[in-house]
Symmetry: C2
Subunit: 257 residues, 2 copies
DNA sequence: TCGAAACCTTGATCTGCGTCAAATGTAGCC
DNA sequence: GGCTACATTTGACGCAGATCAAGGTTTCGA
């Protein structure tokens, strides 16, 4: 990895609290790679040898069962994935696939487990990142079990709008087929649900969404901060832990005195 | 806390790898309490001051939205809960309620955050426990999104049977209304689904379930180790991390040399 | 032991959403 | 620019599951 890449990685929340020695150990055998769109990074059930950190692009986490497939999460930078399998040295429960051309850092799983034991600052950062991932999944499960498809879509649009500046017009970050899968519905049903939202001021032209009556949409959606994380785009790279503390201020990792 | 309780707690996976000093700090201000059935331990959205560890009994984790309620998880001993909120010092995303009379250890959140930074062994154990909780939730989300109600029920019965000794007759661990909520369906639909499973050899009498044609049930359920964790009852208290590594052998926490 | 409350089951009806098919639109490649 | 493949939309239909109501069963407290 080049020096400039090392600096970018060092600035990530996962690595801010670790010692220089720890950082060298982790990055010595690491890869920073670009993958084209549609690349399968790993399959569910696979043994996991690397921790993946998405630095640029979009990655989709999927699961399958009995010839059915669903999108469990859409990751945007900066996100780790498959961290739990690495921490526990267990097989991955999800598949990962790039949605668009992506830049991904791959860190050795054994190295991660080894330095966690030696560097409390790093172990704390891993625990925090893991906690953030967990909370994100709690929101997803609540969203799926408590809301109908139209409600999930309405809340998704409100959240995307806020994350993209709150100007009431924005672009869907990826194709509609993947969005339908993420929302737990078929593409046909997504199409019908978007059409139903025209009555609430939502217009869609290709990937562009315009919301002309945000108050009406919000009355339908009934957003809830315990399900929906409305954090806008941040200037600096933020980890999952920080995102899951929003709107509370950052809790900097303190190392042992 | 009495000495015998301290020994029980010390033996838990979360505390095995920490130093004696860390253990004393954590347990000095801890409470070990019994709560009757139906006690609300905390509400979603509440600030969290304690980590809860369920030592005996059953606890239900719930979420609500727009007058709807769902059961997100049913905890059995030994389980931590609200760990993510403690690690991140954030508000809880779920409510917790005792289903039956329960014994719960309550550890100070600030103390946990403080000693994590100082004791890598403990921080690693927290990260592992967090990873185990995360994987459990991945299974739940896959179960919810990929399977219909009847399929979730069939798999639930197979899993419960194995967890209770695999003798093809067992007792439901709690009331059917809570089970329906956990499986993401109404009590009426649970009743009809149980009736539909008679064709697959499932008989229910009150809380007692008998499976007379396990092969037929399994053909319907199509269990998948990436969704269903069929670990049987263990003799020793196991943490979530260990359960999520099953059937792989335990990965003992190593402390810095 | 009895009554009230909660749980559970059953019946009838409705609805959200999946499935299947076909048509239209868009993107990519030659 | 044209062709192909894929995405998306639209139409028709069916079903899984929710809702509402009512009756039966079980549990708990007085």
């Amino acid at each position: 990895m080049r020096d400039i890449d090392l600096e970018r990685v060092r600035a990530l929340p996962l690595f801010r609290g670790c010692s220089d020695e720890t950082f060298r150990t982790l990055t010595a055998g690491a890869f920073l790679q670009r993958f084209p769109a549609g690349t399968t990074l790993l399959l569910e059930g696979d043994q996991v040898d690397f921790l993946y950190v998405l630095l640029d692009g979009i990655v989709e986490l999927q699961g399958t069962w009995n010839d059915r497939e669903t999108t469990l999460s859409i990751l945007r930078p900066v996100s780790t994935f498959i961290l739990a399998a690495v921490v526990l040295d267990a097989d991955g429960l999800m598949s990962a696939r790039t949605v668009e051309r992506s830049q991904i850092l791959m860190l050795s799983g054994p190295a991660i487990r080894r330095v966690m034991v030696e560097d409390a600052g790093f172990a704390v950062a891993v625990a925090q990142e893991m906690a953030g991932c967990y909370r994100g999944l709690v929101r997803s499960l609540k969203n799926q079990k408590l809301r109908g498809g139209l409600e999930r879509l309405a809340n998704y649009l409100i959240t995307q709008n806020l994350r993209q500046g709150g100007l009431n017009t924005f672009n869907l970050p990826h194709d509609k087929r993947t969005l339908a899968s993420l929302l737990g519905m078929t593409p046909e049903n997504l199409s019908r649900s978007l059409a139903a939202l025209v009555d609430y001021g939502v217009e869609v032209h290709g990937p562009t969404v315009t919301i002309s009556r945000p108050a009406a949409l919000e009355r339908l959606a009934k957003p809830d901060p315990l399900i929906d994380n409305h954090q806008p785009v941040t200037d600096t790279p933020t980890g999952k832990a920080q995102r899951e503390r929003w709107p509370l201020p950052d809790h900097p990792v303190r190392t042992a005195g």
